[in-house]
Structure formats: C-alpha cells, structure tokens
C-alpha cells in the first residue's frame, strides 16, 4: 500500500499529486521533489547507453527514515513516483512494478481523453479515484 503517488511532467512540474493523508501533502511534495534529482541522475546515466531499450521502472530511488521512494519514467519522460511506508514490508518489488504499470495505463487513458490537454495538471476525479484504488491496492 502506497502512501503517496505523484506524476511529474517532462519539465519536472507536478501534474498530479495525491497522498492518503492530505495533511502531509506538503511534506510528501518535498520528498518527491528531492527524489527527482535521483530520477534525473538515473536518466542521465541511462541516456549514455541505449535509451530506447531503457527499463521504465527505475526501482527504489532512495529511502528515508520513514518512507521508501520508487520511480518509474515513461518513454516520454513522464515520471511516476510512489512513496511507500518503510515499515511496510509486505510490498515487494514486483508489486511496486505492477502498481506502476497500472498507473501508467491510467495515465495513458487520461492522455487519450480529448478533454485533457497534455501537460496540464490532471484534475479528473475518476483519475484520482483510480489512482487511490491503486494506492490502496483495491484494484
């Protein structure tokens, strides 16, 4: 079960951000923002090699005392970040991966929506709902 999910655009501006506890949103934003440094670094390293065949899943970006942060970058440089409670040992790497894959497909759906302008912050309620479901693992 993830505590926070962020979708960050190409220009590293947040497109979507949600967390289970809205009161902590600002804190999570700081964490996710810091994680972007790592994402960028990983992408930079990757770009030296074959970029096309890059694995979208970046794995764990870094751990904090209370949280673990995972990253996933699409081929269009849209970044998905999942923050997981460190005490949560139940989540395995594979589950994180599948969460990312679900988020990716949700994101693809929202981009397909003709009423959504790519690059704008996402404020669709149904999207928020599905992401929350993915976070809580009720999908």
């Amino acid at each position: 079960m993830a505590v926070c999910v962020g979708i960050i655009g190409k220009d590293n501006s947040p497109k979507f951000f949600t967390c289970l506890n809205p009161a902590e949103e600002l804190n999570f934003q700081y964490k996710v923002l810091s994680a972007l440094d790592v994402v960028e670094e990983k992408l930079n390293c990757g770009s030296k090699g074959a970029t096309d065949l890059r694995e979208l899943y970046l794995g764990m970006l870094y751990t904090l005392e209370t949280h673990k942060i995972y990253g996933y970058v699409t081929n269009t440089k849209i970044k998905f970040i999942i923050v997981v409670d460190s005490t949560n040992m139940a989540l395995r790497d594979n589950e994180i991966r599948s969460m990312f894959r679900k988020i990716h497909s949700e994101y693809a759906d929202i981009v397909c929506n003709p009423f959504y302008i790519p690059g704008e912050p996402i404020c669709s309620k149904s999207f928020t709902g599905s992401i929350k479901n993915i976070m809580t693992g009720t999908v």
Binding site: D11, N12, S13, P14, F17, E25, L26, Q29, Y30, L33, S34, L36, D37, V38, E40, E41, K42, C45, Y62, T63, E65
Partner: protein, 1190 residues
C-alpha cells in the same frame, strides 16, 4: 547502511566525545599536517589576517627530501579553529592532531608585543600534547620611511620597528619565557621570505613527524600498548589485556597508526601496506571501529594515489588569485607521476573498491554512537570522493547517510552540516536536494532551539534555495517559465517573506509578497489569495512597494515585482477621437470605392496569424497634440473585497505624454470600465505599454506584455500624434432634425431640417466658430448625399468664393456660410410614350436617383436601409430606384451631409485636417404635377403648343404662372390643362444630328433630349401657394416626346413653299374655291440641312375632318387629282430645291383639308429596330391647308 547495533554497542554520552565535526574534510586531509593559524590581538585587522591566511594556505604542499634522498610530498592543512577535544582522537586518526601553530599579531608597543607572546604561549600550552612546533608572525608598527613606495599603511602611528629581515632566534635556548620563533614583518611590505620561513617551519614539522614515525615503526609490534579512541577507555577496564585476541587488537591498531603516520609523512606505499595489513588483523578480532578507520585510511591513501589533484582543485578554486611562490605550479606535474604510481603501488584500491571500503567503514563507525562525528566526516569524505569519481548516486547515498546520524550538535553545527550537504548536492547536480538542505539550514537559523536566531542568515540561505525550486526572483521570467512545484514554491516564498520581515527589510518583504501574488496567483486558493492580499496590504503599510530593483547588501539585485493582474485587465482599448475631432489627411486621393472590398485570399498565412499580427500593429487612428487622448480599460477585481486602485496612469514611451492619475474603487468580481486620459505634448509616435497602479499599497507598472489575462495584448500599442489642429463649432440657422442620419458617418456635429415644396428654395446660414487653439487656415466644403451629383448640386448649393473669403478664422472667431436649398423634383408623370428603351438619363432619369418619391411610405424605409450599406456609393441607387419611376411623386426626404474640412497652423504642414459634417434633412413636399402632356401645332409655323395637365398636389390654392403674362388659379388637389405656346426647336440646335442621320439609330434619342431640353429652357412654370406664400418653379426637365411630337416640336428641316393656283398659301388662311374648279397645286421643298437627304417621299393627301375626332380619307368620290400625289425624290442636295405639281378638282362642296408631308426613309430602319416607335420622320407642311369648296 547504518547499523541498528549502534545503540547497543555504544556507551553513554558522558564519555569524552569529539563534539566538533569538521565538515570540510577531504580524504586527503588524512595525509595532511594540521596547522592552526591564529589571529591574536585586536590590532591586526581581520582583513589583513585573511590576506595572510590565504597566503599561508597556499603552502599546502611541500616537497621535502628525506634522509634517504627520496622526495616526499607533504600536505599541510591550515585551520583557523581547532577544538582541543579533537586532539584526543589523535591516536585514532593522526591527522586530527594539531601539529603546528602559526599565530599572527600586530603590536604598536612593547606591551602589546608581550601580550601577543603571552597569548601565543597560552595556545602552545593548550595544544601542548600534540604540538610539534610553532611560529609567531608579528607585525610591528609601520615605518613610513622604510617603504615609501608602499600603499599608505593602515595604522598611522609611527615608532620604532624591526626590519622585516630582522628576526630573533630564541628557540630552545632563550631564557625568556617566549620560546617561539618570531617572524617580524611590516604589514604593508611584501614579506618576501614568508614562504621560505613557512617552508622551513613545515620542514621542522616534518622532521619531528618523521622521527616519531621511525620511533613508532621501530617498536616491536608485540609489545605495543593498546591505542584507544577517547570513548573506549572505559570499555577495556577489566579486560584481559594479555589475551591473544587483545594482542592482535593492539598490533592491528598500531599497524593502522603507523599507516596514518606514513601517510602523513608522505609515504603512500608504506601506508597502504600498513592499512591493508591492519585491516586484516582488525577484522579477525572484530575491532569494528578501528577496522573502519583502517578501511578509511586505505581508501584515503588510494584516493591520494588516484586523485592527487582532488583537494587542490578545490583550494585552487577557493583562492582564485594565486601569486608567485604558490605551490600550484609544483603540483601541476604530479598527475603523470600519479598515474605511474597508481600502477606501481601495491594495495591501492580500485575506484569502485574505494567507495565500497568507505561504505564498510561508515557501517562500522555507525555501530558506535560516540563515533558519530567520525562517521559523519567519513560520509562527507566518501561523498567527495564519489563526486570526484562522478558517481552522483553514490555521493547522494553517502550524503543521505549523514542525515541519519544522530549527533548532539549545536545549532550552528547542524546548520553547517546542512550547508555542506547543500554544497555537495549542488556539486553532484542534485539542485532540489540542495535547495531542500539550504531551506532546512535556513529554518535552523531561526528555530526555537536556536539561542541566537539569525534572520539575516536565514533569509540569505532561503534566497539561495530558490533556484533549486525553479524560482527566479524576476516575476516576468518566472511567469514565462511557469514550472516547478507551486505548493512548495508558495511555501518557500512565504517563508522568505517572513524572514525578510524579521530581518527588518520591510521593502524586501513587500517585494516578495508582491512576487508571490504576481507569480503564484493561479495556484492559490481563493482564501489564500485573500489572505495573502491582506498580508501584502499590512506589509506595504510599513514599506510601500515600488517598481524599482532593490539591491541587497550582498550585491544581489531584486528585480521589481509588479501586480499586473490585481486588478485584472480584461481590455485595454485606445479610444479614437470623436469622429469630428479625428485628424484626417488633407490629400485624400483615394475615395472609398464601395462596400465590396473583399478578397478571399488571406495574405500572410492563416487567419489566426493575421489576427495576432493585427493586434501588434500600430493603431490606425491618430491622436492630436494637446488634446485629450483616452484609453479605456476594463478592470476586474479578483479579490473578494473592495479594492482601491489609485494613481492609475498610462505608461508611455516616445513622445512626451501627460497622464491624468485616476483612482477607482473596484467591487469584487464585477468588471468595471475606466478611462485613463492624458495629453500628448508633442507630435510623433506615442507608444503605450500599459499603465501604473497603486493597489494594496504596492506601486506597479503593469506592462501589457507582462499581463496574463484572458485577452492577449500586444507588447505595446503605437499611435501617431499629429500636430495641433483647430476645432470648429458649427451651428445652422435651421432647426435641428428630429431624427439623425441614415448616414453612419458619425462625424456629424449638428443637423438642420426643413420642408420645401417641390420647386421651392430657401437659404441656410451655417455659422462656424473656431473654438480651438490655432487659426483655421484651410477650409473646404463638400456636400455628400446618395444623390446623383448633378441633382445634388441642384438641391444644395453654395458660393465657393464666399467660402474662400472666410479664411482665416482666428481662434475664438466666427465665420458663416450660406447654403441654398432647393427642392428639386420631377414634375412630370411618366408619359405613356416612355418606354424602357429610353434610357433614364434622357427621361426624368435625374430624379430616379432621388432618395424617395413614393407616397405611402413603406418603401422608403426599405430604401433607407439600403442607403446605410452603401453610404459612399453615390450612384449605386439609380438602378434600384428604377421601379419608382412609374410612381407619382409624393413627399420625400432628401438627406445630405455638408462636409467641412479644415485645418490650420502645423496641421496643414503635416497634411492633416479635421472633418466635421452637418446633416441636412430636406423634406420635399409635392407641389404640382404634370400628369400628362402633348404638343399641338400652333397657329404659326414657328411655334407649337405644349399642352400640360397640371395637378395641384397641395391642399392650398395655387397660382400658376405659365407664361410671363398668363396665370391661373388651381384649387387644392385639383387639376387643369394649360396650353403653353413654345417656339419650335430651331434646326440650329439639331443640325449636328442630321449629319449622322444615316447610320446612327440613336439619334432619335438625342433628338428627344435636345427637344426636351429646348422645352425645359423655354417653359417657365412658376407657382405660388396662396395659403403659405411659398413660391417655386416647376421646370419640365426630362419631358419625353414621342416621335410624332418631336416632328412638331422641332423645326422642319425642309422649307416648304406651297401655292394654290399660283397664290402662296399662308398659315391661318383659308382657301376657298368652287366645286369643279381645278386647283393647281404647286409645292417646292428646300433642304435647309447641311446634308443630302435621300429617298424622300413627298406626298399630298386630302381628307375631311368631321370635327368629331374622325377623319375621312376616302375622297375618291369627292375629288380627283390630276398628276401624282406622291413623288419620290431620290436625292435632295443641301440647299437645293425640289418641285412637284399636281391639280385637283373637288366634285362636291364641303370643307377639305390637305396634308402635305415628306417622309424620310430612315424611318424604316428605326421601325425595324423598334416597331413601337413612330414610323419615321414625317415632316408636314403645317398647318394643314383648309380648303372650303363651295
């Protein structure tokens, strides 16, 4: 990385602890000799101390040849502070020991010198346990004569001084209590031998170290005492020191210690060997702390092998301005040798290995709570190596570890830790993380735990962290970029505002708050917007915001922040002047050609491009110097409370512009219009780039290009300002019209209306007053209407000379112009003979273009509406009104526009004028109407009668004067017939036509025109309405005549001579004879034209007129003709004569009439073209000859 056993293994914190972390350490510092450089006394200025400190720090690497002749590279690290507790860790890592002391002091008197020496000695005592040697650099009083070329000394006092070369060696032997070698210098002198002195000092340090190292290395490893880290002392109480395990521990620790010493003494290879040896030994006895130290030493030594340049690069960076004598040059060579060494040196670690070892070392350290600082420092060192290796992620993980280390540190040290972290994060390009750390450091400065909050530092750090959050201080850039994390940015700016306010920079606080509102508006919730706006208001109450850059003490320039969107500007429209005030070109060559100026081709790309281009374009109207120019704004207050915006002015560039400040109170969310006005004080191009406001206590320059509004504005509007022009006030003597204009030229300033009967005339005086500042020197009058120009001239006319005589009209003076109005109309009913083939200009075509002429009036409105779309097309209506042609004329309204164009002074020179117009509405009432007309031959051959049926269309009695002597009264709505004798149209008017008689079928038309003109000219109908006293005329313009009529109207081209029985027949003369008499009829015709007539048929016909309308041509039983009644004349030359004779005998008495006529053949061709027309030219001998047969 951090092990959880740390708390289990570590003892209580009461143990001596190294409480002062040194975050600046590099792994290379393991090899450096630590030298403290102290500033003693108050005499020496900090700046000078720093200068010398920098100079001393450059000597960070010295080459010393040892006893075996090998050159050792000795590194030295200078510090300004060294907590004495750190010396306690000297056994653990020898580089922590303070080996040397250099103190700097300045004295002016012996007493001060003594004091400096005393302080120096006290430092020596303080670091006594580790200190090898010390130097005291003393700056004596300046002697001006000594160095005249030098800069003026900072201390002006003069006195005795030692020469800079004059130093005293008092080492070991001097009985005085000051046992340090003192170096005496002059502050302002170059101190040339300072470097050599320090080299010598370092040499001495080295030799002491070398001796210690040798001493240690000669010790038997089995016998050595246990080396302890400060906090370990208690741990080993009661342990069996003789155990094998402990022995090994002792050995391992000593080996590690030797490694340290070797490293410091410049023996890399030896140190590596010792370290790896130590690591093996210590690993076997699970001595984690020392194992960590051994690994760290190993990595540090390897780093020194692999990256000998690492630290120096940084120090090089720090001291950008190096001078001669610096060790930089000497250190430039090692890289090559370094690579060689790397290959040769055994035990040196590979780069990846290095990080791994460091990681292990850190893990081992982490098992001991008291080793927290060592761990922290190791993390930083490891991170720096990772930076050098360009492994950002690795560096990040080392740095991340730092945060977890739980240390009891002072706030200052915590802040330093974050600052160092930020610095390193920046180095690896983790700007966000760096910004985060900076922000944390900033908050630490003012945290409640901090005993001495420093808001200024907090503010400074906050500023530094902006870039990491994608924040720039320039709102314009910021809005363009529009990226980053708004929620975090908002928080950061808010913190910045608080910091600035607490620091005491209210101006900055206001600036930042303005910036926040300006850039983050869209990301704020409405309550936040309101709250922040209120906050801004209270901040600006302390210091008003203004749009000027602020310069901070640090030299940072804070760009201005303008509230361009409070209030929101929805439209910014430059107002054209009132139509009658607009300047226009005097030379207006190109008139509008009509409404149909349309091309489907869009030049220059798509329509969107075009629109945007248009928005950028210069305004297509002009403003006038010294006259009020206006810009209309539509403003919306986005805040939920009333917003007072004061001092709103236009921002202009180009010509001088005087703007009138405006103040407006905007209610929430209701768009409010506001007009900003001003005067251009020069002519030229004026550029309007926005407006300035003073809202929420902040003065802003709201430039259009910076606005983020629903409407996109061009960066600026340009408008041309023309020189001053005069201004006319126009009034007329006629009453103003109730309705105003079907013309939509709105430059109309006044109007005049009157009603006239058809044919009536009146005058109107137009008074012109110059109310402007400059005289009128150019004046032009023009009449505009939808009428045909010729007709218009009939209706409206004025004296052009009078207009010219008006000029000039000085300011404040008046002139007047008389305009004559005439109700011109078509008095003729459409004649039956008028056929569509006759072009309208011949018939009453002039009137066809009149605005309206139908009673009943449903149609006029329709026509009027069509005028609107074609106000400039003056003749386009003719066709449309053709249908009206057959209608009886009724009341009609003619609208005209008297266009006045005037200018003066500079305006003329610049080719500009003003134009205003007076709207005239002329109601034309029907007076009389010719319902029918005919021509009859008159009693004399030279005249004919025009018989008119005239209807009085008014309700009054009308007196009609139809000839100079004859008048007639017609009752209202009555009609009567009047015969008007008219001279026949002379041939002289027609002769031109006969020349082309043969081949031109059109000539009938021309004849018609000429004849109708002839009639119009001669017939002068004047009417007088007895009721109202109105008088008028009724010209018969456009009367149409049939071919038959024409032959009567015009003189015959043939001169007739007819004789009966030898007597010439005269008009009005009756011929009488007896039945049975033979009458000899002779006739001759002379062609009076200049042209040969061909195929003429001369014929004689007799008939009886029963006077009841029927004519009897069947005369066979009543008379007989001897000779032919017809004769064909093939050719009749001009002025030649043709004769014909015949005889007639009347059988029965009675009244006979004889008709003699001559037909022209071209009639046939006309008939062929149009059978409706008459059967050609028939010229009769008129009047018919009446023969009374008795």
């Amino acid at each position: 990385m951090r092990s959880s056993v740390s708390y289990i293994l570590s003892s209580s914190t009461s143990e001596p602890n190294m409480s002062h972390p040194d975050y600046e350490q590099y792994s290379h510092d393991h090899a450096a000799l630590l030298v403290l450089v102290r500033h003693i006394g108050n005499q020496l200025k900090p700046k000078i101390f720093m200068k010398f400190y920098d100079r001393i720090s450059k000597i960070n690497s010295v080459k010393i040849t040892d006893s075996t002749g090998i050159v050792r590279n000795i590194l030295i690290r200078y510090v300004k502070e060294h907590p004495v507790e750190n010396n306690d860790w000297g056994d653990f890592q020898t580089h922590r020991r303070l080996l040397g002391l250099v103190s700097l002091g300045k004295y002016d008197s012996q007493q001060e010198l003594n004091e400096i020496c005393r302080v120096h000695e006290s430092f020596k005592v303080k670091y006594n346990s580790t200190l090898f040697d010390s130097r005291c650099i003393l700056f004596g009083p300046t002697k001006e004569s000594e160095s005249p070329a030098d800069d003026s000394p900072s201390s002006g006092s003069s006195g005795d001084s030692e020469n800079n070369t004059d130093y005293v060696i008092e080492k070991f032997t001097t009985p005085s209590n000051f046992k340090t070698r003192a170096l005496f210098y002059d502050v302002s002198s170059p101190c040339v031998d300072l470097e050599s002195q320090l080299n010598e000092f370092i040499n001495s340090l080295f030799w002491v170290l070398e001796s210690k190292r040798l001493e240690r290395s000669r010790e038997k490893l089995e016998r050595v005492s246990l080396l302890l880290a400060p906090f370990e002392k208690k741990d080993f109480v009661g342990l069996d020191m003789e155990s094998r395990n402990n022995k090994k521990r002792c050995t391992g620790r000593m080996t590690k210690h030797l490694g340290d010493l070797c490293l410091q003494a410049g023996l890399l290879c030896e140190s590596l060997a010792y370290y790896s040896q130590a690591a093996e030994i210590l690993k076997s006895v699970n001595d984690w702390l020392w194992l960590g130290a051994a690994y760290e030493g190993l990595s540090a030594a390897s780093a020194l092998v692999l990256y000998p340049e690492m630290q120096r690069n940084i120090s090089l960076h720090r001291n950008a301005s190096l001078q001669e004598g610096s060790p930089r040059k000497s250190s430039q060579t090692p890289p090559a040798t370094g690579i060689v060494i790397k290959k040769v040196v055994a035990n040196a670690l590979a780069p990846e290995e290095m990080s791994r070892r460091y990681r292990e070392a850190i893990i081992h350290y982490s098992k001991y709570q008291n080793a927290g600082i060592v761990e922290t420092e190791a993390s930083f060192k490891a991170a720096r190596i990772a930076v050098e290796q360009n492994h950002a992620l690795q560096a990040a993980s080392f740095l991340q570890n730092v945060v977890y280390i739980n240390l009891t540190l002072s706030e200052q040290e915590k802040i330093q830790r974050f600052e160092t972290l930020a610095d390193l994060y920046t180095q690896i390009g983790f700007v966000r993380k760096a910004a985060f750390c900076l922000r944390l450091a900033a908050t630490r400065y003012v945290s409640p735990q901090n005993p001495a909050p420093n808001w200024a530092r907090c503010y400074g750090l906050m500023l530094q962290s902006l870039s990491g959050h994608h924040l720039t201080l320039d709102p314009v850039e910021m809005r363009e970029a529009d990226q980053g994390w708004p929620a975090l940015q908002i928080q950061l700016i808010q913190e910045l505002v608080v910091a600035a306010r607490r620091t005491g920079h209210s101006a900055l606080a206001t600036r930042h708050m303005t910036f926040l509102l300006q850039t983050m508006w869209q990301h704020l919730s409405s309550t936040e917007q309101k709250e922040l706006a209120m906050q801004l208001q209270s901040l600006s109450a302390q210091c008003e915001g203004s749009p000027v850059p602020l310069v901070l003490d640090s030299g940072l320039v804070m760009p201005p922040a303008n509230l361009t969107d409070i209030p929101v500007c929805a439209s910014f429209a430059l107002k054209d002047l009132q139509p009658h005030l607009r300047p226009r070109r005097i030379e207006c060559v190109k008139q509008e050609t009509g409404p149909f100026l349309f091309t489907p081709i869009h030049f220059g790309g798509g329509s969107l491009d075009r629109r945007s281009k248009k928005a950028n374009a210069k305004m297509d109207f002009l403003w006038v110097k010294n006259e009020v120019c206006e810009v209309q704004l539509k403003l919306t207050n986005p805040l939920p409370f009333e917003l007072k915006v004061s001092n709103m002015r236009l921002l202009t560039a180009g010509v001088v512009f005087e703007s009138v400040p405006e103040t407006i109170v905007l209610p929430p969310d209701i768009p409010t219009s506001l007009t900003l006005s001003g005067w251009a004080r020069e002519n030229g191009e004026l550029e309007l780039s926005g407006y300035s406001t003073h809202a929420l206590g902040v003065k802003s320059n709201c430039r259009l290009r910076h606005m983020r509004s629903p409407a996109t504005f061009p960066p600026h509007y340009k408008v041309e300002v023309v020189p001053s022009l005069p201004l006319l006030e126009v009034s007329t003597s006629l009453p103003r019209s109730a309705t105003f204009s079907n013309f939509h030229d709105d430059s109309t300033v006044t109007s005049a209306s009157t009603a006239l009967y058809h044919g009536e005339s009146t005058q109107c005086t137009v008074t012109l007053k110059n109310v402007g500042q400059v005289p009128i020197e150019f004046f032009e009058v023009e009449m505009n209407s939808v009428l045909d120009p010729a007709l218009q001239e009939q209706i409206f006319s004025w004296d052009k000379e009078e207009v010219e005589n008006l000029l000039p009209i000085a300011p404040g003076h008046e002139g007047s112009l008389v305009l004559r109005l005439h109700s011109s109309a078509n008095f003729l009913a459409p004649n039956v003979a008028v056929s569509p083939t006759i072009p309208q200009d011949v018939s009453s075509g002039l009137f066809s273009s009149m605005s309206a002429s139908i009673p009943g009036g449903s149609l006029p409105s329709r026509i009027n509406s069509s005028f609107r779309s074609s106000n400039s097309g003056q003749s386009s209506l003719a066709g449309g009104l053709a249908a009206l042609f057959h209608q009886h004329p009724g009341t009609s309204v003619v609208e005209g526009q008297l266009k006045l164009r005037y200018s003066g002074a500079d305006g003329i020179a610049a080719d500009y004028c003003r134009s205003c117009s007076v709207f005239f509405m002329l109601e034309m009432l029907p007076s009389l109407h010719v319902t029918n007309w005919d021509v009859l031959p008159a009693e004399v051959n030279s005249q004919f009668y025009l018989v008119l049926d005239i209807a009085n269309l008014t309700n009054q009695e009308m007196e009609l004067q139809y000839t100079p002597s004859k008048t007639m009264l017609i009752e209202g709505q009555e009609s009567c017939r009047v015969p008007i004798p008219v001279d026949r149209c002379p041939l002289s008017k027609l002769c031109d036509l006969y020349h082309e008689l043969d081949d031109n079928t059109k000539n009938d038309v021309d004849i018609n025109k000429i004849c109708s003109g002839h009639i119009t000219q001669l017939v002068d109908l004047r009417w007088h309405l007895l009721g109202t006293g109105s008088r008028g005329v009724a010209p018969l313009n456009g009367i149409t005549l049939t071919s038959r009529m024409l032959d009567i109207v015009r003189m015959s081209p043939l001169d007739w001579e007819v004789s009966l029985n030898g007597d010439m027949v005269r008009t009005q003369e009756e011929v009488s004879c007896e039945a049975g008499d033979c009458l000899e009829l002779k006739m001759s015709i002379v062609n009076s034209l200049e042209k040969t007539l061909r195929q003429l048929t001369l014929s004689v016909q007799f008939y009886q007129d029963y006077e009841n309308g029927s004519l009897n041509y069947r005369m066979d039983t009543r008379l007989a003709v001897a000779g032919s009644t017809k004769k064909i004349l093939s050719v009749l030359e001009p002025h030649s004569k043709a004769n014909h004779e015949c005889n007639v005998i009347f059988f029965t008495p009675g009244q006979y009439k004889m008709d003699i006529q001559c037909c022209a053949p071209d009639s046939q061709s006309v008939a062929r073209v149009n059978p409706l027309l008459s059967t050609g030219h028939t010229w009769r001998f008129t009047p018919t000859i009446l023969i009374q047969v008795n």
